[in-house]
């Protein structure tokens, strides 16, 4: 034994040190014991071999509502806590890894949720750990989750209610707008002004409702952005153009600049992008009284196959106070309550812009100096359209039935530039490729080269008329079935018959109205084959229409007088025109007989112009046809055209006598 080699003094020394260590150990044990006993967490030690609780502190006994260790043993067995803790014997819990679980326990008469956390000390064969009553935590969390769910439900219900209400309000409002438009056209100037005011107010109400609807849609995550090809520059110009009248009225300059590096055609939601631009531009216009507004669009960067495009709308308006700048992006806030009174508006516009920009993956910001102006800028990523958008994209949200033309390639045969433009303009929003031929010969050339879904053919044209061109096209194998819509002034009743005879599918009277044009196109483009049933159906319909729909085309009397400013002046001008038109007609009649083409052409031109200026559409169209024929007569029979003008003039006279209001 090593003790044998220890000297007496060494033994004394070691004895001293040993007892000192024992003292230190004791002190630590006491400290541990104190903490163990007084801890505010329930602590325990369990003997693994006997599955009995070795020690437990006061807090643990209190947690379990017992006074003795034995009772604790009983509860640990009853609620299978020991079994749960046995899990610690698995290898996964070797070392210091601790096990945590929660158990619902019936303590007293209450169900409590107890959370256990324990570890296994293999060398001592004990499990030691802590238990804590988390009932109140759990129920607080439960209450919180419930509160959140309730709040979400309430918010959803609110959004739903808003969406429904908006719709419910819009329906009668559409009625109000519709009838106000009718009243506006009905004649009396004062009444027209009132109707105009009703329409203005209705527009504001509609804007408000639409904005509320947008906000509720955004909140309910119900806005889905489209990704359709569109022409950026056209979208922007359309937006800007719509502000031209008000800009002119307020004598404000507008500068638009578009970065050359931008591509023509992007993929995006034109309706929503347009909405953002409209909102920001209209704010700029609203709050600017002198100076200029500018819209600067530039390429910020090209990344991940997308162009990040920066739009900057700046004005020289009243500006936004610094302390209000953050708040303008919040809903229902305007910089100043007095602004609401002076300028109107909902305070929703900018908030909607922010939501939409963020929805598009972009950011919006504002800088402003009071009294100097405001600058809104936003940057959004737009994918470059891979399909080099052959087709312009449907833009405005209008009546549903005017929105649904299938994409098509159309041949427009029309010699008159203005009429070409009218048709092109009306069809611009749709997915259409439109080729224009100036006359029948050109039409046939284009038809043999390309495939078309439909032809719009003016009846009266130089070189080769629409009737002759149609006859030739119908003789071709490819030309048998293509829908051909004849176009002529509604005055030429005879033309309809002639059109049918040469094999046209349908007939459209001038002046071409948007709705009629689209109705006709929809009718034919939604039918894949030009079957004889469709054709006879169409003709039945068109011939029955007769001239019934053309009465307002004889003279837009109310509109003209409103334009002139007074009914008195209007009456005077119309009376004067009819007199001079009669004289012109007499001159033309004589000149045609004498084959003085140039002078008769000039007179027909004057007649056309005069008719146009008093808004006698039918007469002006008839005169235009006569004028065209007189320009290059080539031995054509002028008389039917002359008689048409004559009949239109008499109809105008009759209509005016019947409807004039002194």
């Amino acid at each position: 034994m090593s003790e044998e080699f220890l000297g007496e003094s060494e033994r004394r020394l070691i004895q001293q040190e040993m007892f000192q260590l024992e003292d230190q150990k004791l002190a630590l044990e006491e400290q541990y014991q104190y903490l163990f006993e007084n801890a505010l967490a329930g602590l325990f030690r369990i003997d693994v071999k006997t599955s009995r609780v070795l020690t437990a502190n006061k807090e643990l006994l209190r947690t379990f509502g017992v006074e003795e260790l034995v009772e604790l043993d009983y509860l640990f067995h009853k609620y299978r806590i020991f079994e749960e803790l046995e899990e610690l014997k698995n290898d996964t819990y070797s070392g210091e890894e601790s096990l945590t679980f929660s158990s619902p326990l019936l303590i007293g008469k209450e169900e409590r949720m107890i959370r256990f956390s324990a570890r296994y000390k293999v060398e001592y064969q004990v499990i030691e750990g802590a238990a804590r009553d988390i009932t109140s935590l759990v129920s607080a969390e439960k209450r919180m989750l419930e509160a959140i769910r309730e709040a979400e439900q309430a918010n959803h219900a609110k959004s739903l209610f808003l969406a429904n209400m908006s719709h419910e309000i819009r329906t009668p409002l559409n009625g109000i707008v519709g009838f106000a438009e009718l009243i506006q056209q009905s004649g009396d100037k004062d009444i027209a002004l009132y109707a105009h005011n009703i329409l203005d107010e209705s527009d504001r109400l509609m804007t408000l409702i639409n904005q509320l609807l947008d906000i509720s849609k955004i909140e309910a995550n119900q806005i889905h952005l489209e990704a359709k090809p569109f022409y950026l520059s056209r979208l922007v110009r359309d937006q800007v153009n719509s502000f031209m009248p008000v800009l002119k009225g307020k004598m404000l300059d507008f500068r638009l600049s578009l970065d050359d590096r931008l591509t023509d055609c992007y993929l995006g939601d034109t309706f929503r992008l347009g909405q953002i631009l409209t909102n920001l531009i209209s704010n700029a216009v609203k709050f600017t009284h002198r100076g200029k507004i500018s819209l600067n669009i530039s390429l910020y960067e090209h990344k991940d196959n997308r162009d990040w495009i920066r739009f900057v709308i700046s004005d020289t308006g009243i500006g936004i106070p610094r302390e209000m700048q953050k708040r303008v992006f919040e809903k229902f806030v305007q910089a100043d309550n007095s602004i609401q009174r002076r300028f109107g508006g909902t305070g929703l516009g900018v908030a909607i812009c922010k939501e939409l920009v963020e929805l598009m993956g972009g950011q919006i910001a504002l800088t402003s100096r009071e009294g100097e102006g405001t600058e809104f800028s936003f940057t959004i990523p737009l994918a470059i359209s891979q399909v080099q958008a052959e087709f312009p994209v449907d833009e405005a949200e209008e009546e549903a039935d005017l929105n649904n033309l299938p994409p098509a390639r159309i041949l427009l045969v029309e010699d008159y530039k203005i009429n070409q433009d009218v048709v092109l303009l009306h069809l611009e929003p749709f997915n259409m490729v439109i080729d224009v031929a100036e006359n029948g010969e050109e039409a046939i050339l284009l038809f043999t080269r390309n495939h078309y879904d439909l032809i719009i053919m003016d009846v009266h044209m130089p070189l080769l008329s629409g009737l002759e061109a149609t006859t030739q096209i119908r003789k071709m194998v490819r030309g048998k079935d293509i829908p051909i819509i004849g176009v002529s002034a509604s005055a030429f009743t005879a033309d309809r018959e002639a059109c049918r005879r040469v094999g046209m599918s349908d007939f459209l009277s001038k002046p071409i109205r948007r709705k009629k044009l689209i109705d006709h196109l929809y009718f034919w483009l939604s039918r894949k084959e030009n079957d004889s049933l469709s054709r006879s159906l169409a003709w039945e319909c068109r011939l029955q229409q007769g001239d019934g729909d053309s009465e307002e085309l004889i003279l837009r009397y109310g509109e003209f007088c409103e334009d002139i400013g007074s009914r008195e002046d209007g009456n005077m001008i119309i009376t004067g025109f009819i007199e001079s038109a009669r004289e012109l007609m007499e001159e033309i009649f004589r000149d045609v007989e004498l084959q003085k083409w140039e002078r008769s052409h000039r007179n027909a031109h004057s007649l056309k112009g005069g008719a146009l200026s008093i808004m006698a559409d039918e007469l002006s169209e008839a005169a235009r046809a006569l004028e065209a024929a007189l320009k290059e007569p080539d031995g054509r029979d002028i008389m039917p055209l002359y008689q048409n003008v004559s009949r239109s003039l008499e109809r105008l006279d009759g209509y005016f006598e019947k409807h004039r209001i002194s």
């Binding site: 003790e3 044998e4 220890l6 033994r11 004895q15 001293q16 007892f19 024992e22 003292d23």
Partner: protein
């Protein structure tokens, strides 16, 4: 062996001239519920034995009468001979130990010892 509970209430006379050692042992015993008499010398032991402790723990090396001498005296007297005696000593030679037992010690513990060794010896001694 006795449990701590059974030691409770017993009285022990502890003798060592090294105060730290004596106090350490006394403290340990008192915390287990024993009554402890402390003596710093052999003479004090002979005085305090009149308290009739259940056991005596005594260091051998003490000034004045040393532990062995006191042991012999205690065992000679009739009224103290039956008190169990545990001798502690830094002398750990075989001969020292034999001498201790020869003087009438019931246990001879060679230093260094742990408190629990002392406690173990005490239990055995009282139990016997």
């Amino acid at each position: 062996m006795l449990s701590d509970d059974e030691l409770k209430g017993k009285s022990v006379l502890i003798a060592d001239d090294e105060e730290y050692i004596r106090r350490h042992i006394a403290k340990g015993l008192r915390s287990r519920g024993l009554t402890v008499y402390e003596a710093g010398s052999g003479d004090e032991v002979l005085d305090m034995v009149s308290e009739k402790p259940h056991a005596i723990i005594m260091d051998v090396q003490m000034p004045g009468q040393d532990g062995l001498e006191v042991a012999r005296l205690l065992k000679e007297k009739e009224d103290t001979a039956s008190i169990p005696l545990i001798l502690l000593s830094a002398r750990a030679q075989e001969s020292d130990i034999e001498l201790g037992y020869a003087m009438g010690a019931d246990h001879y513990l060679a230093k260094p010892v742990t408190f629990s060794q002392i406690l173990g010896a005490l239990r055995e001694a009282i139990h016997e």
